[in-house]
Symmetry: C2
Subunit: 386 residues, 2 copies
Amino acid sequence: MNNFEFYNPTKILFGKGEIAKLKNELPKEAKILVLYGGGSIKKNGIYEQVTEALSHFEWMEFGGIPPNPEYQILVKALEVIKKENITYLLAVGGGSVIDGTKFLSSAALFEGEEPWDILKNKIRTEKGMPFGTILTLPATGSEMNSGAVVTNTETNEKLGMGGPGLFPQFSILDPSVVSSIPERQIANGLADSFTHVLEQYMTYPVDAILQDRFAESILSAILETAPKIMDNPSDYKTASNFMWNCTMALNGLIQKGVPTDWAIHAMGHELTAFYGIDHARTLAILTKSHYTYNLETKQEKLAQCAERVFGITEGDEKEKAEQCIEAIEEFFLSIGISTTLSSYTDEFEGTAQKIAKRFTERGWLAIGELGKLTPEHVEKIVEMSY
Amino acid sequence: MNNFEFYNPTKILFGKGEIAKLKNELPKEAKILVLYGGGSIKKNGIYEQVTEALSHFEWMEFGGIPPNPEYQILVKALEVIKKENITYLLAVGGGSVIDGTKFLSSAALFEGEEPWDILKNKIRTEKGMPFGTILTLPATGSEMNSGAVVTNTETNEKLGMGGPGLFPQFSILDPSVVSSIPERQIANGLADSFTHVLEQYMTYPVDAILQDRFAESILSAILETAPKIMDNPSDYKTASNFMWNCTMALNGLIQKGVPTDWAIHAMGHELTAFYGIDHARTLAILTKSHYTYNLETKQEKLAQCAERVFGITEGDEKEKAEQCIEAIEEFFLSIGISTTLSSYTDEFEGTAQKIAKRFTERGWLAIGELGKLTPEHVEKIVEMSY
């Protein structure tokens, strides 16, 4: 395996009733800004649990952070942080609220003029304002990693940021929250976490026996959990597995010592930026065409996945690899997620060219685990996904 | 699954050449005590790499920490720490040196009279003197957890200690060190790590899908790595897998949300205390009799392990469980580790009674995942292992 560094200091509090422990995790003298999204936490009882736990703290709130957290809205929260001398952030929400909070953690201590530069100039955050999270929507893994993605609606850009300063100090994961999540969001969480594992696994073998088996474990666990959680999100046991699968899918562990390929995410972010398609669904759109286009370089791992995750035993390596791609598509379809761009928009013509052009302009001239996918290749992959 | 808290802030630096990065991990103003064992690090080049990396630091050394780190020797190191105003500890060794360093980390800040009380009175260490480790012998997982075991040669006791203050700040894992490890120690590392996983997995199911699959992944990875590393410890790829398997086997992850059963370790420590048998070998002695004795309560997990780890498909659940126990014994034998007490000592008569008496005296009246194994049960299990 390759050399690696692994560091993940986020403390996880997992289980029913754990939100009450929030008060033990916050510094007593903190001045806290609670961040949340569209207000669902005020309907499902989480807001009450949080305010109860905060009763002896000084705190304010900032709601309305939208899916794909918008830079233009986040800068308003940043003004509050500065004006009110906030010292601690608490994200109560899903990946978008947590990612937005990470941006604010970084921006609050950023010394430059324009906070968007953190994303535009890929500035690594070594130190951010401390923050914790209460997860209400399992999907992105943001509750236990140090990365974030922010959308700029003025420039139609969706860019990533990160750094060791952006790990949550703690994250509270209470699977009870899953019962109130709409079906569409649960399907998104399943597809998002599944693809997170694929992007860290579906490359080429480097004799990393345990990393491969861990990745296959998460894929298998998601496949086992998916029909049950789609059928009954109120089942606590199933919800627990769904939640922990999503966290483990992107907390850094399985990508250590192995090559990774974030091409599906890179292309998918553009589909969200252009058409507002749910993040998870953009991944489902691009997976089949990406793997089919790169079958030769990914064949060995695709065949290994076919055998170990999907139990496919028939055929030679190439045939197993092809069956694996089919099985992945079937999984997306089984949870009600369409896998072609044309199912989401009628205006798909020219999308491939637009994305390739953007990659060229940004200097993203060679993506994928081998650093060989040029914008020309990207154009072909996106075209195959129409 | 059960509620849990997970927290592991140890930074891992993994791979060839990583020891040179030691200088970036230590505080510049630290006064460092380097701790090591019998001096093998002076023969295999590790001592030179460490001293080179320490060239701009103020440091001293304390060698001679024996396997099963002895309290009587550690208190001499504690005197050095106090006399020389040491502020940072660096363990260079295997589990014994690291465990000894953890004891010193705790004892250095302990305010009581007698540091043995930390172990005797089960005092949890919330804050210790900061320390890092350079691992030279993969086995115990101590490099990425907050527990330690210390032996008192005067009282013939081997007791555990721990707490959130005892995580190494960093651990450097360079698989190149494996090439100079004697075969006996490599076999011990395989048996120790394998049993660590078993103790966190071989209990009863609680619908923790991912934890089960992760545990099975580590068991499978150890089984795949074992014959290769026994055959050629100089193969870097195999050594990398051996090393990472051992760390992941006991860094806290797989035990979260599931019941655990540390009975084999509890009984095994007594065999080491009485007869000086290598820790890993005491585990191999007791595993078969423990699982056979508790077949009924562990049957479901034993059968699951039979299927998923050993590929056993024949028989009903009980038969699969029995085959699993046989397969585990075969694994120990395949790496040259005998599985009966009488292979290690002629004076085994009365051992079971002595251990049961000690458990009674200590008030350990109900061990195992169900809290139902009384000293009477322990006596029978140990007797079955003669």
